[in-house]
Structures are given as C-alpha cells and as structure tokens.
Symmetry: C3
C-alpha cells in the first residue's frame, strides 16, 4: 500500500489534498479543532497568534475571489502574513514552469501554499515536490477534490444532525463536473453515513459513480424521499445548455430544489449549497432563504475549518 502523501509517518496531517484516505478519526479531530475557532469569529478581536510570522501564499492558477477570500481571512485571523498570487497573469505567462514558480516562492520562505488549479492533481504534484517543512492545501483542483469544502460541509452536518451514522444524505446536481461532490461523498462514507444518494440526470453523472458507495437516482422526487440532508451542487454556466442539458429552465423543472420537492425530505431536513448559488436554476429562492437552509452557516463554519486545517498543518 502506498503511504498517503498528505500524512506524516506518525499519521498527522502534513498536507490537505483530498478527503479520500483520511480516517474518520482524523476528520473528527479537524472538526473538533474547528469548533474552537468558531468562537474566535464571534469575538471583538477575531485574531489568534498561532501562525504569527508565517508566510502563506494563496497560489491561484484559476480565479476564485470567494475561495481565496475565505483562506485570506482564515490566515489573517491566525496572524499569518498572506500574499495573494493570481498566477495566470504572471510568471506562467513568461514561460516559467509551475515547479519553478513553486521553488521560487519556497526560496522566499513560504510555509504554506493554498493552491487552486484547473487541472486535477495539481496540488498533489506540488505537495510531492516541496521541502518537508512546507505545507500544501488543495483549494480545488479540476474535477478532483475541494477538501476544505467537504470538511466544512461535514462540520455543518455534525452541528445540525450530531450523529453521522443515522443519516440519509442526498447530493443533487452536476456530480460529474463537481470536485465538491467527490469530496462530500468521500467524507460522508468515511464518517459512516449509511445511505448516501446522488440525484442527477444521466448526462451529469460520472460513469461508475456507484463504486463510490452511493445510490443513484435520476428522479429527484424519489431521491429526496425521507432524507435528512440535501446537499445541492452548483450548475456551471457552461453546462446550462448544449450537450449536457437542454436549458437552465428545463434543469430547474426537474432538478431545481423547490419548496414543493423539499417536502418529500424529512421535515427537519437541512439544505446545503457550496455557493455561489444560481437562484432559479438549481435552487428556488424560497428554499435558499427558507428556514431549512444552512447555507450561510456553511460559510461561517468554512472560515473556522480553514483556520483549523492551517493551524494543524503549520502551527507550532
């Protein structure tokens, strides 16, 4: 068995690249650490000195103001020095290789790279390359993984539903192109959720998705029946018409979450969305703004989870 590249010899977290291969115990310990950071965000002075004097690089090869902002805030609340690098506009265009860029920033004294890249595997590639004292956090790589999103989703479910082992969870939407879906499914199955469903049209389901341990539904009404948690996925604009789907309107009709469809879930089911939402495409505003939505708590917990991951990786 190949050792997990994101763990040290003693099983501690060295990088966070993917949820796949993390133990339930380790995931719970990240979530436990995040609990302590939720209160930091509620203080007058939202700052702890855990990463003071550390240099963290937000290395974004793909633009994402929202995700970059969450990591920037988390790092600043840990008192780290943060440098934002939008790399498409920079050295890459001068022909420097990805590894030369990473080597250069490492030589500047980087302690951590937060990496967003359009190519699956980019964060792993960087993690394999860097010196042992440098840590890598995958902030989304192609269709592969977005582990901090998966962890903040688990944090949210644990907060609202307590026990993972009694839940029925549905992941709804464009599973095929979603790194978020992959990270969620790995986390849910690892944490012992007995029934994970995916709900999507055939054209938006990856082949062999059942091998991940999920039940597939093409009919949303059937799939939502009696679930405890509804995890909506974002529909990328470029999928809203063309080979995958006839139109955004058509998609909403069959796979948009409306109050009417939500009634099929358990009465106390929670509704999640990784944002940004397409209101009227994958989710109706009445649901997004309704009493069962926990979409904004997800954002709040996301800061705490990112603080937890960063401090576990690079804290003293």
């Amino acid at each position: 068995m190949t050792p997990n590249p994101q763990l040290t010899d003693t099983g501690a977290l060295r990088h966070l690249l993917t949820i796949e291969g993390l133990s339930a115990k380790l995931i719970h310990s990240i979530l436990d650490t995040a609990e302590s950071f939720v209160s930091v965000g509620e203080r007058e002075v939202k700052k702890v000195p855990l990463l003071r004097g550390k240099s963290i690089f937000n290395l974004f090869f793909e633009a994402s103001t929202r995700t970059r902002t969450t990591f920037e805030i988390a790092a600043k609340r840990l008192s780290a020095d943060v440098v934002n690098l939008n790399v498409s506009a920079s050295s890459q265009s001068k022909g420097e290789t990805l590894l030369d860029t990473v080597d250069n920033l490492s030589a500047m004294g980087a302690d951590m790279f937060v990496v967003r890249h359009a190519q699956s595997g980019a964060a792993h590639f960087i993690a394999r390359h860097v010196a042992p004292h440098i840590h890598v956090v995958n902030a989304g790589d192609g269709r592969h993984a977005h582990p901090t999103q998966g962890l903040l989703d688990m944090f949210t479910i644990r907060r609202f539903k307590k026990d993972f082992t009694q839940l029925r969870v549905a992941v709804v939407g464009d599973v095929m192109h979603s790194r978020v879906a992959r990270s969620e499914i790995h986390a849910l199955t690892t944490l012992g959720v007995p029934e994970v469903r995916v709900i999507a049209p055939r054209t938006l389901l990856p082949k062999g998705v059942e091998s991940l341990g999920v039940h597939v539904f093409n009919d949303m009404r059937a799939g939502l029946k009696d679930v405890d948690v509804v995890m909506m996925l974002r529909l990328q604009n470029e999928r809203m018409s063309g080979p995958f789907l006839p139109s955004a309107q058509e998609y909403f009709k069959y796979y948009g979450l409306t109050a009417d469809k939500l009634k099929l879930a358990k009465p106390d089911a929670i509704v999640m969305h990784p944002g940004p939402m397409n209101r009227g495409v994958e989710i109706d505003s009445s649901v997004a703004d309704g009493g069962q939505a926990v979409i904004l708590p997800q954002v709040t917990f996301g800061i705490a989870v990112r603080m937890a991951v960063m401090s576990m990786l690079a804290g003293a």
Copy 2:
C-alpha cells in the same frame, strides 16, 4: 418622518451613507475625531489598535484604486484586517446577486463594508440588508453621494477658514454628474455656510439645483467674485466632448480655474479639488501647484477623516 437609516436610535452613527440628514453637531464630532488622527499620520509608528481583529471588506463594484487605497491605509492604521474585493471580476460574473455576495461576506465575519458602486443607492441597499452589528461606508454610489469626500472637504475648510458661518463658497464644474458636489453642498449648507454658489455651464447643471440652497452662476468670473473657498470638480473624460461640451479646450477657456480668474476671489481664498486632476482642463497647473491650493492637505486629511468614520462606526 422616516428615521435616518445611518443613525442608531440614540443618534449615533451606524453607517455612513450620505451627508444628507446628518446634523451639524454630528459632522463636527466626526471632524473633531479626525483631528486626533491627523497626528497619528505624523508619528514614527502610524498605527493605533482601535480596530484590531476587525474584518473590513473594500467591496468595489467600480474600480477606483485611489479611493480604495485611502480606505485601505486608514483601516490598516487602525490595525484592522482588510480584504480588497474587486467584485466585477468575481462572483457577480458568476451570476450571484449583490445581496448573496454581501450575505456571504457577512457570514465570514465582516465588521464593515466599504462600498463603491456605479449605481446610486447601492450602499443604502446593502445597509438596509445587513445585520445590526455590521457597518456600511459609502465610498461613492453613482451620481448620488461620496460622503467621506464631503467630510474631508469640510475638515479642510474648517482647518483653513475656522468659521463656516462667515463663508462664501463656490463649487465649480460638472455638478450634474458629480456625487462629490452633492455631498459637498449638503455638508456646506448643514454647517451654516451662508452663501454656496455653483458655477457650471447649463448642460452640466442638474435641474432644480437651486432647491439645494445654492446660487447658480453660468459665468465663472461672476461666480468667483469675493469667494473664500473654490471647490473644483473633476471633469470626467467622457464629458469632454459630445452632447455636454464642445471640447476640453473650450471648457478650460470658460470654466478652467486660472490664476487670472482666481484673482476675482478673495486674496486668501483656498482652492480645493477632489482629484485626480485634469490639468489644463478644469484647473491650470499654476493654480494647482500655487500657494492657494490645499489639494494635497485634502488628501492627508482624507486619511484622518476615514479613520475617524471607521473608528466611530466599529470601534469598541
């Protein structure tokens, strides 16, 4: 009477959206607070811990490096954590609504939004929406208001002229398209300036401008006669020819401030400009760089005024 949305029940500042509706007393208390921050900018260590651990978002839906920079510096000197968001390039393009963006940043633990937007009313709209502990500063909305500019102008006048109630002030230029002009006029009349003049060609005057309590002059020489303060406005490039004006050269001839025209004002009149200046269009270099100009002190005081506003809104 509708309560002023920018004040708390006890009349304290909750948001700064417009100068309209602020009392002379409140304006003077902002200027008094700013006085104490002028000295901070002159120290070896230009920093006070008043907003340590606060998260301030520069939410710019319209690019303005200069204004963003002044708020960024002011926030950093108050020891806040600042995140710059140029939103046009981000989630808005992914179809997220303005309020979803604001809700998300609020959920990340925002304490304050500094908002620049091309649409009049945007800052009010956000202020009405956010939770009570979050503060909004309008950094310019459409043609409506730019209250920190208005306040720093008042600070400058008070510094150089002491008593507002003995002054004759002229606001010169493109009043119609200028949020700065609106903020200045509201501030001047509130602070008891007995004679506020606006000087502009008819095509650059809004209808009914007299209802703001100003005297209108189309002839610059007549308008400048015996004034104590000349407040120049910037002419936007897009107005320099076309339906409003024949050309920039023509504009300069009639409405550009030259040493010759300035002689019509009082000998100790001060000349102000909100920047960036179009030298040779609305102002001649001999005046811009001359002894009566207080254009650079305006910039210095602008930092102090923004520190005052931010600390009054979000300080402990």
Copy 3:
C-alpha cells in the same frame, strides 16, 4: 561633481536607485545588514518590528508579480504596512500625471515607494521630487537599473566565493536590453572583481559596453574559460526571433548554458540566474537543477537584501 542623489550629506543611503556611484564600503554594509536578515527567514516567527507602522507603496507601473512579491514579503517581515498599486490600471489611465500620483500617495503618509517602471530614469525622477523623509527604491526602470537584483547577486557571490578580488566573472546573454546586467557590472567592478566578462551575440551587446570595464566575448566557450561565476541573463520572449536573433533554438545552441559548456569554467564555478528562467533557451535544465546552480539561494538572499535596504532607508 554632482552629489549622488541617493545619498544623504553624510553619505548614508537615502534612496536606492542604482548601484552606480555606491562605494564598495556602502555595498558591503548593505550585504552585512542582509546577513542578519537571512536568519530571520529561518525562524519560526519570520518577523521583526523594524518598520512597524510605516506605509510602503509598491508602485508598479509595469507588471511584475515576482518582484512585487519579494518586496511585499520583505516589507511584511519588517512589520510595515504594504499597499500594492498596479498603476497602469488606475489613475494614470484617468490622465493623472506620474507626479500627481506620487504627490497624492505622499500626502497619504507614504514612507517609501518601491517603483517599477518601463521607462529608464523613472525612479530617479520620483526621488528628486519627493519630500526628504520619503524614500525611493528602484525595483527596475527600463533598461537602466535593477539595483536590489545586483545587490542580491553580490550577496550570493560573497557567500559562495568570499573574496571578490580574486574572481573571474562572466555575464551571459542579452546585455543590451538588461537592466540586471548593468546593475551587476557596476557592482562587480566596484567590489574589485579584476575580470568581468560579457558574453553575447553582437546584436545583443550595447555599443561601447567595454567602457564599463568589461571584456567582451562573442564566443561563449572562450568566454566561459576558467571563470568562477557564470551569471546568466533572461532572454525576453520578444527577442527570441526577429531582428536580434534567428530563433530560440539557435540562441540555445550558441549561448544556452549546457553542462558541456559549463565544464569550461572552473570546477567549482557557481551558476546564477535572476529568474524567471527560460529552460532550453538560455539555460539547460540539467544545469539549472544541477549542483553548481545557486539560483534558489539567490531568491532567498533577495528577501534578506530587500529587508536590509528597506530597513536602512526607513528604519528608526
């Protein structure tokens, strides 16, 4: 003799504009100061309070994420407040003059400007204009100078070779368009290197380069013979074909540093490059990643040298 604009009356550093005119003693004192900062970069908490509360503006009229990042990191490790300004996208496009921009930022309380500009002399121009308490660092101006690059190169040579007065050094590549080459040559001759060679095709050599005190070689093999230090230059993409060179491949054949050509230098010769590298154009990967390359130490030392310069200019 005109006094050196970058020195105070007592010979201390007031600005860093060019290496030309700096004494060997002053250069060594910068390098000595940098030595103390190398260890800061190796600490758990990579931060010293020398510039706390100072406002440093990265004023980049020409995009360069890499150089901007090194100054940003250096400033943050000195605890300064840093504001990044990419000026092409801002006031300059609104017609404001360079000096108006500088005056405005000065009025905001700037302590230091780090200036990158496409025009030679821009940093000097700004330095002549600012008030005495404001410091200017040239981060590259046109083809003229890039003094912190030159200094970090000297730091690197001193670390690995100790004594400048016994060395044979070759500068290889596009000398004509390179501000780095100019800064390197001035530094090497000032520090007493007895033999400085430049190696380049005739089309990439400035006229009269010999007057700088260098020996010119058009044949790379002859030029590399028995040198202690090989300083490669970056070939700008726009030079890789057209009037100066037939093609990148052709260039590599004659002027690319390969393991084979490097054997002509002394066995313990070191290889330097200012980055970003064009692998396979000016340097072969086997050399760039080989045991004689000190390209990444250059980057590390670059942070320490910039911390040294900034603290010598603006420290208490």
